[in-house]
């Protein structure tokens, strides 16, 4: 009996350790399970196709790529609200570059360069000018989008690729077929995983490597954990703060390129709206603390997958209209944060109460002993 208890306790502590460290995987597993149930409940069978749909979704690939940058920004104790608008700006620039040059490389470079510039502006204002990142990026969020809204009207439709207030890849260009049909919407034969998912995975692996195995990565965490101690240890705190915005900008650029290839067009008035919130949601679901200094970038990958799956669940429940979707997304977010912040507090309370009970018990026993 006792030995049995020991084994269970061993498994329990292993699980609790794993839960603590990889809670994001458990979250994803639970969410996926719920998704499978809803599909079955609708009378369909849960198939590999459902999983590839999650992998191919915009919320996974595009928001996920941006969320990786957002995570770095949040780890340093800052925030970037401009990523959704920057996505539109980069897509627009990238599509115009394609329409003008018909070159895949220049299309990609234009997106990345535009993103880096957007990030640099955010970073310099927040890091060097020491303005609150929340306000800075709120400002640039408005600026980046409205710039594209006016540009799209002013520029020749031959360059924007469309006459209806959007940027579109010109299908007449010879590279269009490769960019859109092969790369943007195609998938690896056999497993049918989209190519763009591999872009996301590759970016994730690079960021994961940087965050864990480079001195720069460690300094990002140090700045977010204790800025003063990081400064006194010789870390260029301002440089780090600027750099995470630039990295986010570059990732937004990559996401914009992928978006352009996948969808083929971008509408400044509506594309990428609220994406900053989705990215933050993926970061939170990935178990990265909003106060900075901690979190595993691998979590963001699963956070993005969880977020997409949650959306799919909501869509697959026929009783829910699309109008109510955001309510459920919001609720899930709040619950996850609640678990993150309230969980440890409750645990501590329980531990303290248990300790107090124990000491009281010991005292009572001593008293009884002394009387005896």
């Amino acid at each position: 009996m006792r030995a049995n208890k020991g084994v269970f306790a061993g498994i329990g502590s292993l699980l609790s350790k794993a839960w603590k460290r990889y809670s994001f995987i458990f979250v994803f597993a639970i969410v996926l399970l719920v998704y499978a149930f809803t599909i079955e409940a609708n009378g369909n069978t849960f198939k590999w196709g459902h999983i590839t749909a999650i992998l191919a979704s915009q919320n996974t690939v595009i928001v996920g790529t941006m969320a990786l940058g957002m995570a770095l920004v949040i780890i340093t104790g800052q925030i970037d609200l401009s990523v959704g608008s920057a996505l539109v700006l980069c897509s627009g620039v990238s599509i115009m570059a394609f329409n003008l040059t018909n070159s895949v490389i220049i299309t990609l470079l234009a997106a990345v360069a535009a993103g880096a510039l957007c990030g640099l502006i955010n970073g310099v204002l927040a890091g060097y000018a020491k303005m609150p990142p929340f306000i800075v990026t709120l400002g640039t969020m408005l600026i980046y989008r409205s710039l594209m809204l006016s540009v799209v009207r002013e520029i020749d439709p031959a360059i924007t690729g469309s006459s209806s207030s959007q940027f579109a890849l010109l299908s007449e260009n010879s590279s269009y077929d490769f960019l859109r049909m092969k790369f943007g919407t195609g998938s690896l034969p056999g497993v049918s995983i989209p190519y763009i998912t591999f872009v996301f995975v590759a970016v994730m692996l690079i960021i994961l490597l940087v965050s864990r195995r480079t001195k720069y990565g460690k300094s990002v965490y140090a700045v977010g954990s204790n800025e003063k101690a990081a400064f006194l240890a010789g870390i260029n705190v301002q440089g780090v703060k600027v750099s995470v915005f630039v990295i986010t900008g570059i990732l937004v650029g990559i996401a914009a390129f992928v978006q352009a290839c996948k969808i083929g067009n971008v509408t400044p008035a509506s594309s990428g709206k609220s994406y900053e919130m989705y990215a933050i949601a993926a970061v939170v679901l990935g178990g990265i603390g909003m106060s900075g200094g901690k979190g595993n970038l691998l979590g963001v990958f699963f956070g993005a997958l969880s977020y997409t799956t949650i959306n799919f669940i909501i869509v697959s429940i026929p009783a829910l209209t699309t109008d109510i979707q955001d309510t459920f997304q919001g609720l899930v977010l709040i619950v996850v944060i609640l678990v993150q912040t309230v969980g440890p507090v409750l645990k501590e309370r329980f531990a303290e109460a248990r300790k107090r009970r124990l000491t009281r018990k010991v005292a009572r026993k001593e008293l009884a002993d002394s009387k005896a």
């Binding site: 480079t214 460690k218 954990s225 204790n226 990081a230 400064f231 006194l232 200094g293 901690k294 300790k355």
Partner: protein, 502 residues
């Protein structure tokens, strides 16, 4: 039966035991000295008494009433007041407003009754023998006056017992006498005091009884008249650490650090030459500029005038600049300035070295672990896995990790700003032993501290600062607590002090 009885008090923070079965009894109308080195548990005990933290076991009886779970408000109402080391008055208000803070007198219309408040404050000061204008701004008061104001405020709130935490640290000899006069008067009126201090002569002058704590344990208690300073000192530090002189004279090298008329924030016109392998102690009261000089020597604070030369090279600029010239600084206030709470022990050890060698970006964990194990052995760090959180270590071991952080940068000059703050006695002795060991290896060590007995044990020279100037430089043989105090309080230049020095 005393006015205060604390029995069987034990407290642990996580795995660190702060107090074990401590007793404290204070009689009504007495001044009770609470003694012990930094980290002995005095603050923890006082924080429990005032309801700031909860005790794990034990009971508290005050004025005949039991307080099983005291809170701050409860103990204030009971009549216990804590006069903190760093004075807690509101600088932007007038003296009388501070006295009536949160207890303002109001007129029938609900407006502040300034006139009556000023009058009552004046009466209070007359009763206590404090010479202070109730209408002057607190920001214009001297530290000693602020302290008296805080005591007055506590008494006005009907405090029966006052806890004075090192009240004389920032006071001149005359001011101390004045304070003691007031304390004696209040004692005669039936007030009790818990008096926390490190200064033996003061304790023998003012206290009636004493309690000594060491390493969180009750060591001794009794009447001051029945004991001797030597006995108390032995109780405080324990036999094994007392009178152990680590100091060994060593041959010193060339001048490695040179300050020439350096002027900066909080100090001016400081000139010093420091030799390779030398151990220099900076000391002085809070605000004397020693810490600021140290920070300027590491690029944390800018300097306005003069030259800092390291190995003949004039230095200026930010921290990385100074680090490249092989200077390292362990800042004061460990929690705020050194601890990176979300990182493990290994990363905490390596971050300064990372900043220095950032051209080589990839981290070799294997290489770092070997370095860490070497440093761990050298510094006697008591830690489990290097992957554990830095917060799992005791204060002393954390501080050693931060020493390791800087040794890891292969620095030649080590600046230590109050390195034994909040460190237990054993770890403290080890840190001083290490300082000698570093110097024997040719490192130059500058240490800023108020612990004069420790300075005496390790340093070649002691520089005493007063209000941002070098007041006096003592050679090793000349260092003694009394003379250092005379210069750091500037008592040497006041009449009473000069007489004292003979």
């Amino acid at each position: 039966m005393g006015i205060l009885e604390m029995q069987h008090i034990s407290k642990a923070f996580g795995g660190v035991i702060a107090l074990t079965d401590v007793h404290l009894t204070v009689e009504a109308g007495e001044i009770h000295a609470l003694l012990g080195e930094n980290g002995a548990g005095k603050s923890t005990l006082m924080n429990i008494l005032t309801g700031v933290i909860t005790t794990d076991t034990g009971e508290i009886l005050f004025d005949g009433k039991s307080y099983p779970n005291p809170t701050i408000a409860m103990m204030e109402r009971a009549g216990i007041a804590f006069v903190h080391q760093e004075v807690n008055v509101v600088n932007d208000l007038a003296v009388f407003e501070n006295i009536f803070l949160n207890r303002e007198l109001k007129t029938k219309l609900g407006l502040l009754n300034r006139k009556q408040m000023i009058e009552e404050a004046g009466q209070l000061f007359t009763r206590l023998g404090v010479d202070m204008d109730p209408c002057s701004m607190v920001s214009e008061l001297k530290t000693s006056q602020k302290q008296l104001l805080e005591i007055s405020r506590a008494l006005h709130a009907n405090a029966k017992m006052l806890i004075l935490d090192e009240p004389t640290t920032a006071l001149s000899t005359q001011e101390v006498e004045h304070l003691f006069g007031i304390l004696r008067k209040l004692k005669a009126q039936g007030h009790s005091f818990i008096f926390i201090s490190h200064k033996m002569p003061e304790i023998f002058e003012i206290a009636d009884r004493y309690t000594v704590l060491r390493n969180g344990m009750f060591i001794s208690s009794g009447f001051i008249t029945d004991t001797t300073p030597h006995q108390i000192a032995t109780d405080m530090v324990g036999e094994q650490y007392l009178d152990k002189d680590y100091y060994i004279p060593r041959p010193l090298g060339e001048t490695i650090v040179e300050l020439r008329n350096v002027t900066g924030r909080g100090f001016s016109d400081v000139s010093l030459e420091i030799k390779k392998g030398e151990i220099i102690a900076f000391t002085g009261l809070a605000g004397c500029g020693a810490s600021e000089i140290m920070q300027t020597m590491f690029g944390v604070l800018p300097f306005e005038g003069g030259v800092i030369r390291v190995e003949g090279k004039s230095l200026r600029g930010a921290i990385p600049h100074f680090m490249k010239s092989k200077i390292a600084m362990l800042p004061s206030n460990r929690k705020e300035n050194s601890v990176v709470p979300d990182m493990d022990i290994l990363d905490n050890t390596c971050i300064a070295e990372h900043a220095l060698s950032k051209k080589q970006q990839m981290i070799s964990t294997k290489h770092e672990l070997t370095r860490y194990e070497d440093l761990k052995k050298l510094l006697w760090i008591k830690a489990g896995s290097p992957k554990e959180s830095i917060l799992s270590l005791s204060g002393g071991n954390q501080q050693k990790v931060f020493l390791a952080r800087w040794l890891n940068t292969d620095a030649d000059v080590l600046l230590l700003d109050n390195p034994t703050q909040g460190v237990d006695v054993g770890a403290k002795a080890e840190i001083y032993r290490l300082i000698l060991e570093f110097a024997a290896r040719g490192m130059t060590v500058i240490i800023n501290t108020l612990e004069i007995p420790e300075i005496k044990k390790v340093s070649d020279r002691c520089v005493v600062f007063f209000e941002g100037h070098v007041a006096k430089i003592f050679q090793h043989d000349e260092i003694n607590e009394q003379d250092v105090m005379l210069y750091s309080t500037n008592a040497i230049n006041t009449r009473g002090g000069a007489n004292h020095a003979g």
